[in-house]
Symmetry: C3
Subunit: 260 residues, 3 copies
Amino acid sequence: MKIVALLTDFGTEDNFVGVTKGVILKINPKVTLVDITHQIGAHKVKKAAFLLYSSFSYFPKGTIFLVVVDPGVGSKRKALAVKTRNYYFVGPDNGVLFPSLEADGIVEVVEITNKKYLLSSISSTFHGRDVFAPIAAYLSKGVKLEKLGREIVDIKKLNLPQVKIRKNTLTGEIIYIDSFGNLVTNIDRITLEKFIKNRNFVAFLNKKKITKFCDSYLQGEKEPFFIEGGFFKLEISLKMKSAKRYFKAKEGQKIVIKRR
Amino acid sequence: MKIVALLTDFGTEDNFVGVTKGVILKINPKVTLVDITHQIGAHKVKKAAFLLYSSFSYFPKGTIFLVVVDPGVGSKRKALAVKTRNYYFVGPDNGVLFPSLEADGIVEVVEITNKKYLLSSISSTFHGRDVFAPIAAYLSKGVKLEKLGREIVDIKKLNLPQVKIRKNTLTGEIIYIDSFGNLVTNIDRITLEKFIKNRNFVAFLNKKKITKFCDSYLQGEKEPFFIEGGFFKLEISLKMKSAKRYFKAKEGQKIVIKRR
Amino acid sequence: MKIVALLTDFGTEDNFVGVTKGVILKINPKVTLVDITHQIGAHKVKKAAFLLYSSFSYFPKGTIFLVVVDPGVGSKRKALAVKTRNYYFVGPDNGVLFPSLEADGIVEVVEITNKKYLLSSISSTFHGRDVFAPIAAYLSKGVKLEKLGREIVDIKKLNLPQVKIRKNTLTGEIIYIDSFGNLVTNIDRITLEKFIKNRNFVAFLNKKKITKFCDSYLQGEKEPFFIEGGFFKLEISLKMKSAKRYFKAKEGQKIVIKRR
């Protein structure tokens, strides 16, 4: 039983996800379809890259990830089908797949060029349906990667932001804000612990402070706190409230932590 | 493996879609369920009709479309089960199925009357669960259409709006606005090209102008442009922005194009 | 073909539902996954309890309900796996399962303690993925309840509010507001009919009145009315409009009905 997992910026209000699935089922009616999310916001390549990277390893070996966040649709950006050590990935060559490919280990990358495996009418705005969906479906039927196009080596890179440490200052970044308003940073718990070495710390975000670390949401009091969240990264949270609203935070903002 | 594809105005916040699927799976646990969308807005029959019409042909032959946009629920409007050349359609007789039935070709229409194939308790507000879902499920198990009720001929008509051309003026309509803010018109690319005959054109919408045609989103500059979109209709778009917001546009508004 | 039905407050914007499903499919790729809803609002245990109670009986016998509305995640609240007469339920011990368990009849309750059936890394914020999802998956593969932990008897109770009748006054409560704006009360049609005994009645909500009962939405005129809705409870509705907006109503508000 092959699985195709979808991550797009299509939203769920239109018929875009539905027809994409129709196309897949028309080619392989036995596939199991799973939505990762379709609501990351239009054209948010970096955010999609992070969500894919945080999701893929929870799926069974052999899962095919169909990823369509594609502001360059209709331009000359390449369309990719990639085999990694444990999975397949299909999507545009704009970096959205990159952190996941690197993490799982690339085996083979193909630029999709063989029209035999695409829909007969290809629109210039909806390659999710016309290009990527049929490719994912044929992969799920066991069609070999090399039949889909020509092998390539160079693909667009996109790296998730790294933590920087200088003397007494650790600088991280908010890489994701979840729908509960938790601010997911790129800082690991171990990185923070090594940095603060059992001393106190103070973190600054939009001129507001965080000075606590909690092990569960319920430990939290009225002030904001760090907690190791489901992404296994430090998140800034508020008990039963939205830290996003409290800090007026946005994705991409820096967070500066100082030892005291 | 039979497929039931769902298109409703139930939204995704309540349990309406979930219990509808539960009812189907209780009758036929082997069916594959696919959502087209459930977020078209309450009672928007015309919009649903367009989305169904734009979606059905992407699905495998034999797919059963369960369509519940049903402001007349509990009144005397008929409940329909329809066999077309390639598909089955189940839904209220309010026109929502009509453009799709006409496009695929009606083979047989039945008014659903046989209570044997409905839930034992039928609410007066939720026929999606109590009437249409079990009918779709029994169709997916191979129950013949004629067993579900009596054959009828007259059904409610609903026609998608037509383009009008008079002298130097082409008048179209915004038939759909997608969640990216693209304004989908009822105008084909070929219709426009025949009309303008390689000359320039100017289109008016809410006192604002469109004078360009682009082949991809990235070709666009700051001004709004026409593009042939995924519905294979002309859409009015803005590069990385919402044309809906720019034009303050609404579904149903006229768009007037003049040759220059 | 085993079914796992999911009801959570995860929302659909993040990857939370997607990875939860990935975890289940990794353990049992043959399971059928159905969403009841994921959009009940963060931490709304009572609302989730009502929706689960209103949904479960529409699903096939043997369905496993995975319910994660879990403000106490990471604290000492227990994690439960429950066998009832016809179903299985997996979720936190905060009352969210209780009305459904009571309605279907508890056969056995287990506190989940056996780490063999959980993910190897357990976060302190995402037990939906790390604890409840694998348990639901192993149940779907036929693992016996008693293997998952130790049998317990006492669980957290949560009772849906009861109607109160005193002399000429019936007091009910708005227990749910659906996305159309219909106000679902805890009052049965039969309870109201017995109470008013064919006389007139007047109901008060936020200083506005309801004096009518309708059999379908289309019977309604401009005033608000009671209708027996899909939950088989009385709902307060307005024809093609939102009663929520008209009454500025909130879940939990009292509704007082008087005989005239």
